[in-house]
C-alpha cells in the first residue's frame, strides 16, 4: 500500500514536471474604441485589437513568456505581473525606472519568468499611471494541488473596476496641479464588472463555483456581495486561507479574493451580484454618478432580473481574521523594523504630493535595478540610489518588519512587489500611530499564524504592522496602489540583497531591455544621477520641488517695508497739504466763486449771527467777520 502511494506520488510529480509548459503570449498594445458603461465611447489600450485584454493563464511550474510590442504610437508602456514573486527574475517585474526602462513606442520587449505560486493575480502597465486607460487584465495560475479542489465544480473570474471617461494624461495633469492644492483625486464616472455592466452569469443549482474576484481599478475600492447568498473565502492575493464564511467583502484596488460560492437548491429566482464603489475618498461626487455595478446570477433565463436592493450599512468581512492554510507561523522578531509615516502635503510648486517620512518618490535617471548591477560594493550604500527613490536596503534572508502609520484621513491599499507579507496588526479608524506598548501590555496580540497577502488596506489615521522574509534578491517597490498616489509619490524602493542580486543577474539582462533605454537615450549604468565614475556623487539626480516658505521671505519683507513707507509718506503729504495756508490766488478764485454762488442762489450776505465767516485757519467757534 505504501509502495503504491510512493509510486503514485513519483509518477504524478514526473507528470507535473514533464507537463511544465512554456506559455507564450505575443501581445501588441494599441488603441481601440470601447464604451464599457454604455455612457461614453473612448479610446482604450487594447492588446491584439482586443479589449478587455486577454487573460494570462498558467499552471504552477510553467514558464511564461510575454513578447510585448508597443504600438501606442506616442507613449511608452510596460507590463508588471502583480503578486508574482519573480524570484531570480527581478528584471522582469515591469516597473519603469525601477527594474527596466519604459518600453518606447514602436519597440519590443520580452518578459520571461517562472511561475511557482498558484492563485489569482493580474497584470498591468507600470508606467506613467496609464493602466486605468485599459492596460490591465487577469493572470490566473492553476494549481493541480489545490487543497480545495474537491470543493468546487467550476472556476469563474470576475474583475471589478472603476472607469473614467477621460484619458489619464489629462486627468493626471489637472490632479498634479497648483490649482488642486488639496490633492483631490478625480472621481470615476462608473463601475464595471468584467469590464462591462449588467453581466449575466448562468448558473445551475447546487453547484459550487470558485470565483476569483480581482479589483483591477486605478482608484476605487468596492464592497462586493451577492444578494441571497453567502460564500466562503479560501484565498486572498494568491495565498490559501482556511475557509471563513462572509456575506460582504471589501476589495481594495489591486486585491484579489478567491471565494467558494454554492448556488441555491432551486432555480426559480435570479439574484444580483453587486459591486459598490467606496465613495469615502471621492472629493465632490457629481450629480447622477452611479457608484454601483450589478451582475446577475442567472438560475432561470425565464425569470426577471432583480434590481439591486438598498443596503443600510456596509459591513464587510475583516480579512485580518483569516488564517493561512499552510499555517505558516509568525516570523521571529525582525532584524530590521522600518517605520514609515504617510502624509500628504504641498511643496513649493503648490502641488499636493504624498510622502513616506517626508520623502516623496521621484523616478531616478537610471533604473534602480541597473544601479544595483553597476555599483559593485557600493550597492549596499543607499546613497547611490538617490534620496527620492527612498531606498530601503535589506540583507539577504532576514525577517523585516514594516510599521506604517497613516497620517492622512484617507484609506490606502499598500502593495509590496516580490513578496507576500504577514499581517500582524492593523489599527482601526483614527487609532493613531502604532504603539509597541500595546504589545507589552497585552492590548494587542500578534496572531500565531497571521494572514498573508500582498496588498493591504490601512485605515484613516490608523496603522498596520507587517513582516516578510528578505529571501528574494531584487528591486521591489512598496507603494500605495491608488494610481493617483503613485503619481504623487507614495512609493519607496526596497533594494533586497543587492550583492546576491548582482551575482544572480550578472550578464542575464537581455539586450532588448537595454535597447529600450538606448532608444530614448536614457542611461542604464551608474547611480541615480547616471554618474558611473563617482557613485557616491548624486549631484544632478532627479529631486522633488523644495518646501514652501513658512514665513516672511526677503521679498515679503521688502514689500511690507515699502508699503509702510508709502503709507507714512502719504500721511505726511496729507498733513502738509492740510496745514498749508490758502494762497492769495486761490483765495481770489474762491471769493469770486462765492460771490457768484451767492448771487445765483439768492442768499444775501449779511453781517451778524448768520454772517459768513471766512478764516483761513478756520478755528471752530471763532471767526472773523469779513465784509463782502
Amino acid at each position: 500500500m505504501a509502495l503504491a502511494k510512493v509510486l503514485l506520488l513519483a509518477l504524478t510529480s514526473l507528470a507535473t514536471t514533464t507537463l511544465a509548459d512554456v506559455r507564450q503570449y505575443d501581445f501588441t498594445v494599441g488603441w481601440v474604441d470601447r464604451n464599457p458603461d454604455g455612457q461614453h465611447e473612448r479610446r482604450v489600450m487594447g492588446i491584439n485589437g482586443q479589449w478587455p485584454i486577454p487573460a494570462i493563464y498558467a499552471t504552477v511550474g510553467d514558464q511564461v513568456v510575454v513578447n510585448l510590442k508597443n504600438e501606442l504610437g506616442d507613449r511608452p508602456c510596460s507590463l508588471h505581473f502583480h503578486g508574482l514573486y519573480m524570484n531570480g527574475t527581478s528584471h522582469m517585474d515591469g516597473v519603469a525606472q525601477s527594474t527596466q526602462c519604459p518600453v518606447p513606442a514602436n519597440s519590443s520587449f520580452t518578459y520571461s519568468f517562472n511561475v511557482t505560486q498558484p492563485g489569482t493575480y493580474w497584470y498591468h502597465s507600470h508606467v506613467d499611471g496609464q493602466y486605468p486607460d485599459g492596460l490591465r487584465g487577469p493572470l490566473i495560475v492553476h494549481d493541480p494541488e489545490n487543497p480545495y479542489a474537491d470543493q468546487f465544480d467550476e472556476e469563474l473570474v470576475l474583475t471589478l473596476s472603476d472607469w473614467y471617461h477621460d484619458e489619464m494624461p489629462g486627468l493626471i495633469s489637472s490632479f498634479l496641479s497648483v490649482t488642486n492644492p488639496t490633492g483631490a483625486e478625480p472621481v470615476p464616472n462608473s463601475a464595471l464588472m468584467n469590464d462591462t455592466q449588467n453581466l449575466q452569469i448562468p448558473v445551475e443549482p447546487n453547484k459550487t463555483f470558485f470565483m476569483r474576484i480581482i479589483n483591477i481599478a486605478g482608484f476605487a475600492a468596492q464592497y462586493f456581495w451577492i444578494e441571497g447568498h453567502t460564500f466562503r473565502i479560501i484565498e486572498v492575493d494568491g495565498i490559501y486561507h482556511k475557509p471563513l464564511e462572509a456575506d460582504m467583502i471589501y476589495v481594495t484596488a489591486a486585491q484579489r479574493y478567491g471565494i467558494l460560492l454554492t448556488t441555491k437548491n432551486d432555480s426559480s429566482e435570479n439574484f444580483a451580484i453587486v459591486g459598490a464603489m467606496d465613495q469615502d475618498l471621492f472629493d465632490v461626487v457629481p450629480d447622477g454618478l452611479n457608484p454601483n455595478v450589478t451582475s446577475y446570477l442567472v438560475y432561470n433565463t425565464e425569470a426577471s432580473l432583480p434590481n439591486a436592493t438598498f443596503v443600510d450599512e456596509f459591513k464587510p468581512f475583516d480579512d485580518i481574521l483569516l488564517e493561512p492554510t499552510d499555517e505558516l507561523a509568525l516570523f521571529e522578531d525582525p532584524i530590521l523594523s522600518y517605520t514609515v509615516d504617510v502624509k500628504m502635503d504641498n511643496l513649493k510648486d503648490g502641488v499636493n504630493y504624498a510622502f513616506f517620512n517626508d520623502v516623496t518618490f521621484v523616478r531616478p535617471k537610471v533604473p534602480t535595478l541597473y544601479t544595483v548591477l553597476t555599483s559593485g560594493n557600493l550597492s549596499t550604500d543607499p546613497t547611490v540610489y538617490g534620496i527620492n527613490t527612498h531606498p530601503l536596503v535589506l540583507d539577504h534572508n532576514q525577517v523585516v518588519e514594516i510599521v506604517l502609520n497613516n497620517h492622512d484621513p484617507g484609506k490606502h491599499p499598500f502593495h509590496l512587489h516580490g513578496h507576500d507579507f504577514q499581517v500582524l496588526a492593523r489599527g482601526d479608524d483614527d487609532s493613531g500611530d502604532w504603539d509597541s506598548e500595546a504589545l507589552s501590555n497585552g492590548t494587542v496580540t500578534y496572531p500565531a499564524t497571521p494572514m498573508r497577502r500582498d496588498t493591504l488596506l490601512v485605515r484613516p489615521n490608523g496603522h498596520f504592522v507587517i513582516r516578510f522574509r528578505s529571501d528574494n534578491p531584487g528591486v521591489w517597490l512598496f507603494h500605495c496602489h491608488i494610481e493617483w498616489h503613485v503619481d504623487s509619490g507614495l512609493t519607496l524602493t526596497v533594494v533586497e540583497a543587492p550583492l546576491q542580486l548582482q551575482q544572480q543577474l550578472a550578464g542575464k539582462i537581455p539586450e532588448d531591455h537595454y535597447d529600450a533605454c538606448r532608444a530614448e537615450g536614457m542611461p542604464y549604468e551608474g547611480n541615480a544621477a547616471g554618474n558611473t565614475v563617482n557613485l557616491l556623487d548624486t549631484q544632478g539626480m532627479n529631486m522633488s520641488p523644495g518646501l514652501l516658505p513658512t514665513g516672511f521671505t526677503p521679498r515679503g519683507i521688502v514689500a511690507l517695508t515699502f508699503s509702510i513707507v508709502a503709507g507714512l509718506l502719504g500721511v505726511a503729504v496729507i498733513v502738509w497739504y492740510g496745514l498749508s495756508e490758502i494762497t492769495p490766488t486761490e483765495q481770489e478764485r474762491e471769493e469770486s466763486k462765492i460771490d457768484a454762488l451767492a448771487k445765483s442762489s439768492g442768499i444775501v450776505e449779511v453781517t451778524g449771527v448768520n454772517a459768513a465767516e471766512v478764516d483761513t485757519k478756520g478755528k471752530a467757534g471763532h471767526g472773523n467777520a469779513r465784509p463782502v
Binding site: 510648486d349 490766488t585 460771490d595 448771487k599 478755528k619
Partner: protein, 370 residues
C-alpha cells in the same frame, strides 16, 4: 464661557462697526463744526438727516439681504453667496475706497474754504431741478451727487460693512450654539459705537483744522487698505474659481492661496480665519493680509502714489492757478488783471465777473468769458 460669548463674533462686529463709525462720526463732527446749529440750522438739519438716513437705510437693507442669504442657506441648503462673496467684497471695497478718497480730499479743503462750502452746501441742498434745465447729464449727476453726498457715503459704507458682518457671522456661527451669538454681537456693536462717539466728541473739542487733518489721515489709511483689499478679494475670487471650491477650507495653510502670486504668506495671523481676532482689526484699519499677493501690495503702493501726486498737484494748482505743463486758466488772468489794474494797466480786457451778470454759473465752476 464659549457658550454665551463667542469671541470671533465680538471681533467681527467690533471691526465692522469701527470702520463704519469712523466715517459716520467724522461726517457728523464735520457738519457740526462747519455749519453748526447756530449758523445755518436748516441746512445743518437737512444734512444731518441725510447722514442718519444713509446709515439707517443701509443698515435696514443689509439686514434684509443678510437674513435672506442666511435663510436661503439654511432653507435651500445652498450657499449661493459663497461663490460670489469675494467678487462682491472686491467691488464694494473698490467703490468705498474711491468714494472715501474723494470725500477725504473734499473735507480737507473745507477748512480753507469754509464760506464757499457753506454756500455750496446750501445751494446744493436748496437747488431745484429747473435750475439744471439744459445742463448736461454729467452736470446733473454731479449736482445730484453733491446734494446727497451726505447720504451716499454712509449708505455705501454701512451697506458694505453690514453685509460683511452678517455673512461672516453666518459663517462662524455654524459651529457655535445659538446662545453664544447675541451677547458678543451687542458688545462688539457697543464697543464700536463708543469709539465713534469718542471721535465725535474729540472732534468737537479740537481745532477744526487739526481734527480734519487727523481724520483725513485715518480715512485715507482705511481707504488705502480698502483699495488693496479690493484687489486681494478679486484675486481670491479668481483662485477659488480655479481650484473649484472654497480654498479657505484649507484655513491659512498651503493650498489656501496661489503660490504663484504670493509675496508673503504666514500660516498664522489671518484676518479671515475664525473671526480674525486682532488681525481682523488690523485688516479693517490698515488692510493687513497674512497672505499678500503682488496685486495687493502693488495696488496699496500705487494708491498712496496716486494720493501723494494728487495732493501735490492740488497744491500746485492752488498756488499757480494751473496744473503743471498746462495753460493758465482765466482766474489767473483775472488776478493778473487786478494786479495790472492796480498798476494802472487797463489794456487787459478780461472782464471781471462782478461786472458781467450774464455769466453762466450753473455749477459754480470756472468763469468763462462772455
Amino acid at each position: 464661557m464659549v457658550n454665551v460669548f463667542a469671541v470671533p463674533v465680538f471681533f467681527i462686529l467690533f471691526r465692522e462697526t469701527l470702520e463704519t463709525v469712523i466715517i459716520v462720526s467724522v461726517l457728523f463732527s464735520f457738519l457740526k463744526l462747519q455749519l453748526g446749529p447756530h449758523r445755518d440750522p436748516v441746512v445743518y438739519k437737512k444734512l444731518r438727516k441725510q447722514v442718519w438716513l444713509g446709515t439707517l437705510i443701509g443698515l435696514a437693507i443689509c439686514l434684509v439681504i443678510g437674513c435672506g442669504m442666511i435663510g436661503a442657506f439654511y432653507g435651500l441648503g445652498t450657499d449661493k453667496w459663497a461663490s460670489t462673496e469675494d467678487l462682491w467684497e472686491g467691488i464694494f471695497s473698490l467703490v468705498a475706497s474711491l468714494v472715501i478718497s474723494v470725500m477725504g480730499a473734499a473735507l480737507l479743503r473745507v477748512s480753507k474754504l469754509q464760506e464757499k462750502w457753506r454756500l455750496k452746501l446750501a445751494k446744493a441742498v436748496e437747488a431745484k431741478n429747473s435750475e439744471h434745465h439744459g445742463a448736461s447729464m454729467r452736470q446733473k449727476m454731479k449736482a445730484f451727487a453733491e446734494k446727497y453726498a451726505m447720504f451716499f457715503l454712509p449708505f455705501i459704507t454701512v451697506l458694505r460693512e453690514g453685509l460683511e458682518a452678517v455673512v461672516f457671522i453666518g459663517g462662524v456661527s455654524l459651529g457655535l450654539p445659538a446662545s453664544a451669538i447675541p451677547l458678543p454681537a451687542i458688545c462688539g456693536l457697543l464697543a464700536g459705537v463708543i469709539i465713534g462717539w469718542l471721535i465725535y466728541r474729540g472732534g468737537n473739542r479740537m481745532p477744526l483744522q487739526t481734527f480734519l487733518i487727523i481724520s483725513t489721515c485715518v480715512l485715507y489709511l482705511v481707504a488705502a487698505g480698502l483699495f488693496s483689499k479690493s484687489v486681494w478679494y478679486l484675486e481670491v475670487h479668481a483662485w477659488n474659481k480655479a481650484t473649484g471650491g472654497d480654498a479657505s477650507e484649507n484655513g491659512s495653510g498651503p493650498g489656501s492661496y496661489d503660490i504663484r502670486k504670493s509675496v508673503w504668506h504666514v500660516n498664522c495671523c489671518s484676518p479671515g480665519v475664525n473671526g480674525g481676532g486682532g488681525w481682523g482689526i488690523f485688516n479693517a484699519l490698515l488692510g493687513w493680509q497674512n497672505s499678500a499677493t503682488y496685486g495687493s501690495v502693488i495696488s496699496y503702493n500705487m494708491y498712496w502714489l496716486a494720493v501723494i501726486v494728487g495732493f501735490v498737484l492740488l497744491r500746485f494748482k492752488e498756488k499757480r492757478g494751473r496744473l503743471p505743463f498746462m495753460k493758465a486758466k482765466v482766474a489767473e488772468c483775472k488776478f493778473e488783471a487786478k494786479k495790472n489794474a492796480s498798476r494802472g494797466d487797463s489794456s487787459v480786457d478780461h472782464v471781471a465777473e462782478k461786472k458781467d451778470p450774464a455769466v453762466n454759473v450753473h455749477n459754480g465752476g470756472d468763469i468763462s468769458p462772455a
